[in-house]
């Protein structure tokens, strides 16, 4: 247990709300309190005994509070090893009492940077003295208790009650782990803020930070434990009904949200299963939009995630309810639509109206390394290079661009067939592009054979051989959009010309793995 009696505490907190929870207990166990600034005033106002830091150190607070506790009397009081005879002697010689408890929370730097204040103001929220106190106490956990989060006052209170004014080693260790979690998090926010300001994308030392939102039931599989962390102040997702979301739900939801984010305002529906799009449409009419997205693969869509880029109306809710979806995401729900959807058993409804997919980068974890990269751009808007004799019609051009924008959300060798403003066949997840061509056209032939004539196709990367072109042409595709850039481009273009196709080059690749 290694109990350690607490005789003296230092308190310096930004958030003073919960002091009332802990002060009576400190008094009960005759714990002397040192404090400064606002915390000192607050404690005095609440009629508790308290020594001001400057009184304690005989050194006046300076520089608008920038230097208060950065004093050897404070830090030696915290940092000395209690059972070290040499340390003991030095403390006695310097007339320095032990400080056994440090209650300090950091200035809310993360909140401050959201406010778009001046740089000068923001920098005031970089906490030097508080961080030093927390870190010193956390290092010396064998002798000292550190409380760096107001939510732990209640745990400290319990601990002091159980052990009659002492704390156990285990408690001190857990509080130390939390304290370093807090300083690491805070400095990570500061460091990333600095790097963003300076446009340093890939600094020599990179830290990524997250706040726990939820311990999930399990991870990708039941034998894997898992949790969800947010990297900003808010996810911007609001679950309106249904049971807790799982790891795979979140993975699917964000796959859907990425597609949603690529749509123009108030248009578009995407259906996702296993983080793979089953159907996507940007038809203006929301009912037709839904029907077309669903038609692309009604079998895989069953039990999937549907994401709607508008407010869901009553009539759309009726349509959606004809199918079983695990999750319905939208930019909002009309009241009556919500009522209708809630009738469905096991459905989860999510409002993503306040979503903000802030991150400019993404990270891929590899076991003992990670890859950092820019997010793939959201939309293709450059001029196309038409490489075939046949030129596209205006409608074909629109369909081609839509198809190309969808194919970036399909993994590994993606081929996306589009008719009008809706996908009709999606192939991907294959090590061979030809196989993806076959999967996409087979799907279209199976579910919407009437639309495959006059359809267009997009490929996320170049065709290495003409075989994929021939496969698509045979299925009925009339125009193809692809990056180009293969050493076989000439043969590929020739195959397109021979089949009477239109082909456009984008010079932009959209691999996704």
């Amino acid at each position: 247990m290694k109990l350690k009696k607490i005789k003296r505490a230092i308190i310096s907190v930004a958030n003073k709300e919960n002091l009332k929870l802990i002060l009576p207990t400190l008094k009960k166990f005759n714990i002397e309190i040192i404090s400064s600034g606002g915390s000192f005033k607050k404690i005095k106002n609440m009629k508790y005994k308290c020594i001001e830091v400057s009184n304690y150190t005989k050194f006046s607070e300076m520089l608008d509070g920038r230097v208060k506790t950065l004093h050897p009397k404070i830090h030696a009081g915290i940092l000395n090893i209690r059972n070290n005879t040499k340390h003991k002697k030095e403390l006695k010689k310097g007339n320095i009492p032990n400080i056994d408890l440090v209650i300090v929370d950091l200035y809310p730097f993360e909140k401050e940077i959201q406010k778009k204040n001046s740089e000068k103001k923001i920098i005031d929220y970089i906490d030097i003295g508080g961080t030093a106190l927390i870190r010193a106490a956390a290092k010396n956990f064998n002798d000292v208790t550190v409380i760096s989060d107001i939510s732990d006052y209640i745990n400290l209170k319990k601990e002091l009650e159980i052990f009659k004014g002492s704390t156990s080693l285990n408690f001190r260790k857990i509080m130390s782990a939390k304290a370093f979690g807090s300083t690491a998090y805070n400095d990570s926010v500061i460091s990333n803020w600095f790097n963003n300001k300076l446009n340093i994308k890939f600094p020599e030392k990179k830290t990524i930070y997250g706040k726990l939102i939820d311990n999930l039931r399990y991870g990708e599989n039941p034998h894997q434990q898992s949790s969800l962390y947010k990297t900003g102040l808010n996810l911007g997702l609001k679950q309106l009904s249904g049971k807790k979301l799982s790891y795979n739900n979140y993975n699917d939801i964000y796959s859907a949200l990425n597609i949603l984010n690529s749509f123009k305002k108030n248009e578009g529906i995407a259906i996702i299963k296993h983080a793979t799009p089953c159907g996507v449409s940007i038809e203006k009419n929301s009912i037709r939009c839904f029907q077309n997205a669903l038609a692309c693969d009604p079998i895989s869509s069953f039990g999937g995630v549907i994401a709607v880029n508008t407010i869901i109306t009553k009539s759309l809710a009726y349509e959606i309810n004809k199918i079983f979806f695990e999750i319905v995401i939208s930019r909002g729900f009309k009241k009556d639509a919500l009522k209708i959807l809630k009738k469905k058993k096991n459905i989860r409804l999510i409002d993503c109206n306040k979503l903000n997919l802030i991150n400019e980068h993404n990270f891929l974890f590899l076991g003992n390394a990670f890859l950092a990269q820019d997010k793939d751009r959201d939309l293709f808007d450059k001029k196309l290079k038409i490489v075939t004799r046949k030129k596209p019609t205006l409608n074909q051009l629109k369909s081609l661009k839509f198809a190309f924008n969808v194919c970036k959300f399909v993994k590994s060798n993606s081929i996306v067939l589009v008719s009008g403003k809706s996908t009709i066949g999606i192939g991907g997840g294959q090590p061979s592009r030809l196989d993806s061509c076959k999967i996409a056209s087979k799907k279209a032939l199976e579910f919407v054979p009437e639309k495959i004539q006059n359809s267009v196709a997009a490929s996320d990367a170049f065709f290495p051989f003409p075989d994929g072109i021939e496969e698509l042409a045979e299925a009925g595709v009339e125009a193809i959009i692809q990056p180009g850039g293969s050493i076989n481009d000439k043969k590929v273009i020739e195959a397109a010309n021979n089949a009477g196709l239109v082909m456009a080059f984008t010079k932009i690749r959209h691999f996704l793995h």
Copy 2:
């Protein structure tokens, strides 16, 4: 530019190697030096003028160096805002001179935890005073220069030379960003060390840290910038020849390494393309092992990554050279084998003998959130539950387990067909399990039709309907391994019995997305 003249510096460094690079420049510009402990001795020995901190503050160094610089005279000297009249007055009153340059590096905590010393010893490497100095200086970048990395001495020297003893605001900002990068990284290592010690998997505040290894040519696509970071001290990969590795190379390499890690010692070959296995074998004879892995999909394997779990011999090198692989990874290369492989143009050879895939967790990034979870376990070793009338032979049992161990490395609805000790058809990346069954059996029929009779199949998750079973039975599969657990299990088992199949349940799922 906002140049700031440097009159006084504090130096306290763990790594004293490079002091000789910067001391002459400091002397040249008449910069007064304050220092302590080992740094003080080193500077004195090199015959430079230097004041000891305790002499400067009139406060003796204490607690074996735990308290040296944590003094208001030091911190006020750093933290005061130079153009703030109130601050100026306070400094004058306290007779506190400005400190304009802070050269401090942190104790090497990360290296220390590798040494498996006692907890007490490790804790000594948590740097309190140094961190406080670095953070104070980094906060006050408008007036103060902070150098937290010995590799920046040369940049400081240049800066001082150009600006004749001053530094520019831009330089100070960049050094501050680096300084907070360093404290964030260090506290992240400490925090993760504490959490590991306490078995806290998902702390409230989580930071993930990495050190830049390389800026890559580009990311997943040419328009995305990208870099590689290591999360430990070393990757354990040694590139022996060929041009620089790319983002997609690393993604493929680690997909291969995960499979390699699941093999028994000295057996197994995996071929990867687009982070997807094209063929896997655990045949004892390395030549047959290679031929079988390749035979599973020789077309997709072209230009892929091959990972060999043994030392590559001359005869295997000859076999490998018959095909074009972008990357050959192995546990080592015989000298003559290396010579043969190096003859091939554009090949990259990687020795993974020192690989250590340390991380117990993985992280999936989602834009404004991340999912943390346990790694999926490496090997299935539980007893199987045979649910069909027909029971497996010993050989079938071995093939079934191998197939199940491979299917966890295939994404979304994976179906893996195995004959003997080698895969013969791999299907995945599909929102529908039935489609994966079709892809896997089509591949087997295309490339190794002679082996599909008497083959076995594994599925990463349960079959929702009997259709997949029927598809596989029709192709020639004789035994199936799968988690089980569908509400339709009864019908699925019936379908297996009707087709005269063996079926085994694992009760363990292996989703991967």
